[in-house]
Symmetry: C2
Subunit: 540 residues, 2 copies
């Protein structure tokens, strides 16, 4: 329902764009929005593969713009002020400079990257009502990403920059059959291995369809030859046994495998009761998570932390970057824009021909400015999801005792997910996420807690999945995006509309203004759209 509602908003909006800016602008906007395709949602949510998501329709829009679409010297003699040195802002500065624009980036924090952030020993985690210092041992491996953490293999704009900048990449393990699924209300609260749940669901689904076919239920839909072929397919798909019954499969592993490992392969496990596996949406939804386009293997991560990407961009825009510059007002002038800001506390201001505002709407809403009423209204109403990560240093008990190398366990508790590190396999310690909660109540509840309460909650809930959390997990630290100054939210979830159009010389960008909300790729797409608007306004 929400999704079709979203499509309606966008259609209305497009009619307005069509009237005001003409077809080409509308097509580009459609492309930027990925009209018709369900908004991808953040990789972290399972929205991308949400049940009942209506199949995309429409399309046919030309692709959104990219470098190369703009005339080489489009920017000669023109200046652009960019607010925010996140991925969107730095992408804009990097590409605009190539076009000859004179760029300045104002960044409130003392480092570039925005939500692209990696936390290591000694780092400060400041929230609106708390401050933590990361107590991990100092080590190249002991870090966690307190922001974007994985890159889908088809996010080729971001991956192209990694290639261009020489940012080394490695695999991010998103799907691990040795990881666990845990619902306190199912199977007496015992966690089940993903391999077993998957095998038993596939097997029993195949057996059901096979017996339906035997009963002739699909004689209309399938001719005799196809029926036989489907039955063969089901036998393979479900690893069915004699009489095409599912009696368990080696795919599910062996009893006590975590103890005897490869030293015994005897009987297989009895199939989990289908009634239990369908008793809640939990099981199939979690299993289907990595079927979502933005969650499919291969997923990638930079070697050494996601902020390797931020540092690579920062290097290339350093000359245009002003850190510790907190914007206090955004004003329109006759010829362009003026932005007032405090540089290390002292008030100053800067003018430019154009301005790209990449600040999260949750931050922008508190900054006075000459926004059009329609733009201001959308800024004030734009919703963000809350997300919380709680990280611990720990001996790698998940590798040493459970053969878990990377990947994600799911639990139907507030902590939602447990993440095992995808790098440093085999070393003594690793950083494990005892919680990654997002999207609604779980994220909101953990956000409301103090850092101390969060780590305590994570250890309590995670120990239902791995008892070792109580004895092995130390140096806990948490990040709640909604409470991080200059972030104030994890990612945008409202459907962008007016903010996709120019506000005189103001252009808005950021992941929330893309069809890939919550992804760095979306931030890049939004920067390209803003550049396109500036080029059009100058040349048009």
């Amino acid at each position: 329902m929400r999704k079709s509602g979203a499509r309606l908003d966008r259609r209305e909006f497009l009619m307005r764009v069509g009237r005001s800016a003409g077809g080409a602008a509308m097509l580009r906007t459609m492309a930027a929005l990925g009209i018709g395709s369900s908004l991808a949602g953040c990789g972290s949510s399972s929205a991308a593969s949400a049940p009942g998501a209506a199949p995309p329709t429409g399309g046919g829009a030309e692709p959104s713009p990219r470098p190369g679409d703009w005339p080489p010297n489009a920017g000669a003699g023109q200046s652009v002020l960019i607010l925010g040195a996140g991925i969107a802002g730095m992408t804009a500065a990097f590409e605009l400079a190539k076009l000859g624009y004179d760029c300045t980036i104002l960044e409130a924090r003392d480092a570039a990257g925005g939500r692209n952030r990696t936390l290591r020993a000694g780092d400060l985690v400041e929230e609106t009502d708390s401050t933590q210092r990361v107590a991990f041992d100092a080590s190249d491996e002991l870090y966690f990403n307190a922001g974007p953490s994985r890159i889908p293999h088809h996010h080729e704009l971001l991956l192209g920059y990694c290639r261009e900048f020489g940012v080394a990449l490695e695999t991010f393990v998103n799907d691990n059959h040795a990881a666990r699924l845990h619902d306190p209300l199912s199977f007496g609260g015992t966690p089940e291995l993903a391999r077993r749940v998957r095998s038993d669901l596939h097997g029993q689904l195949a057996e059901l369809l096979s017996s339906a076919i035997d009963q002739g239920a699909l004689d209309q839909a399938l001719d005799a030859a196809d029926r036989d072929r489907v039955l063969d397919m089901l036998t393979t798909f479900g690893d069915l046994g004699a009489g095409r019954r599912y009696g368990g499969s080696t795919r599910a592993g062996f009893p006590g495998q975590e103890d005897v490992g490869s030293r015994r392969r005897g009987e297989t496990l009895a199939p989990l009761d289908l009634a239990d596996l369908v008793s809640s949406g939990f099981w199939t939804e979690r299993l289907s998570f990595t079927s979502g386009l933005d969650q499919q293997a291969t997923m990638l991560q930079p070697v050494g932390g996601m902020d390797r990407i931020a540092r690579a961009f920062e290097q290339r825009v350093a000359g245009d970057l002003v850190l510790n510059a907190r914007v206090t007002a955004i004003r329109k002038t006759v010829s362009g824009v003026r932005v007032d800001y405090e540089l290390l506390g002292s008030a100053t201001s800067i003018e430019a021909d154009h301005c790209i505002v990449t600040l999260p709407a949750t931050v922008l809403t508190e900054i006075p400015g000459d926004y059009s009423p329609a733009h201001k209204a959308e800024i004030d109403a734009f919703r963000y999801t809350s997300a919380v990560r709680i990280a611990f240093q720990s001996r790698r008990f998940w590798e040493q005792e459970h053969s878990i190398y990377g990947g994600i366990s799911w639990t139907n508790q507030d902590i939602t997910q447990i993440w095992y590190p995808s790098h440093g396999f085999g070393s003594r310690d690793g950083i494990v996420l005892g919680a990654y909660a997002f999207g609604g109540p779980p994220g909101d509840r953990l956000t409301a807690l103090t850092p101390g309460q969060r780590t305590a909650t994570a250890i309590t809930e995670a120990s239902a999945v791995h008892a070792a959390f109580t004895t092995e997990a130390v140096n806990g630290v948490s990040v709640a995006w909604a409470k991080v100054p200059f972030q104030r939210g994890a990612w945008g979830v409202s459907t962008p509309s007016v903010l996709l159009t120019p506000d005189d010389r103001l252009f808005y960008a950021g992941e929330h203004l893309s069809m890939l909300q919550g992804w760095q790729e979306g931030a890049i797409l939004s920067a390209y759209r803003a550049i396109d608007g500036i080029v059009a306004s100058a040349t048009g």
Copy 2:
């Protein structure tokens, strides 16, 4: 059929063991064999998830032995001669030395590792009728494993040695939704992306079962509440749309995605016709490959090449290792064994109390020895599969143009598989396998070709999957295990029987004598079984 036949052989054999060696020996042998579980087959074959594989039965055997099961000083004053410095031989030497045995390893080649082999610039590839020199550019990243190439996360004995020896591990990408499936006889010979085949199979399977349930076909099997829950499950599982029909899914990707990437998400792809997807076993079997227990994520590889493991073992047994020692005869003596061998051409011999023979049966069959008739018969009859890998250096067009990072594409041609490197993402060149053929005719046919014919065949066939092979793939080199001296085969496929039992003071080991044939883990298990036999013979 083959499998049940295999089980029969093993049952017969166990009755013999039971009579001759008593229950404990039989239990251990059962465990070593993993009786009841289908022999896992090599990770490279799809046997592990073969359709119709009967669900394992029996079991209950105690786990096979491991270090710690043997008395600390069991070996005091005793000597063991080990033939072959592969993983089995070096594991035996490493563990026997801890027990106080005086070990000597005779290795015919000038390096240890056996089939654990990594090829780099300048290496020689010698076969019975050809010699190649690897022409890759010299680089840490430009290598390929001409033997075992991946480690299942639950092969914890091998992974334990990696941890103990400090061998760094990284992810081996076994399942990549961006990889391709190609059957010259389907879809007009157009390769399809794995994501599309998977999504469309799941979607149409879910739609079929859903409509069968609507028709009441499962009213006996499921009560009303369960029916509704199963329908919800199917909606999620198949990403079904309105009316629980499958009309395509974002999971399958978008038309032209390889060109426009993330810059457009319009309409989804029309579902592939189910009739085509089931027209041959190819599609479901290839999709199911990574559901097999030994092929499930997470898969691992040593950083820098699989031979990092061989080098780590070699370091630890170097003092007992004699290279360039070609065994010419294996003799039994009153008190033990005598082995004649040629050391760099000159004949010599050595005696010991016990001997572990880890040579492949295909090599051993040509070495005269005092084997018992039953052991000799099994040695001569033991079958191995042939396998061929054909590797090329190439610009990483698969990453740069197709967003493929690691993983395997399948084709229904002799080359069988195309492997993309799981490491060095983003660098200019990589080593791609233009062929990995195994198990039967494809492996046999490529084995019969000259190296030049193999690379030509690989480029021709691989270009049907990626046209760029014709222009980008250079420096081709191939390995056909069946023609490699002192290997003479890829992995054993006969069901071991008598060779699992002592032959006086001769004990046999090697991957082919384990329940994990074709895996290094199996070689380790076989070494443990041999050690167990030696300890038992000494103490018993």
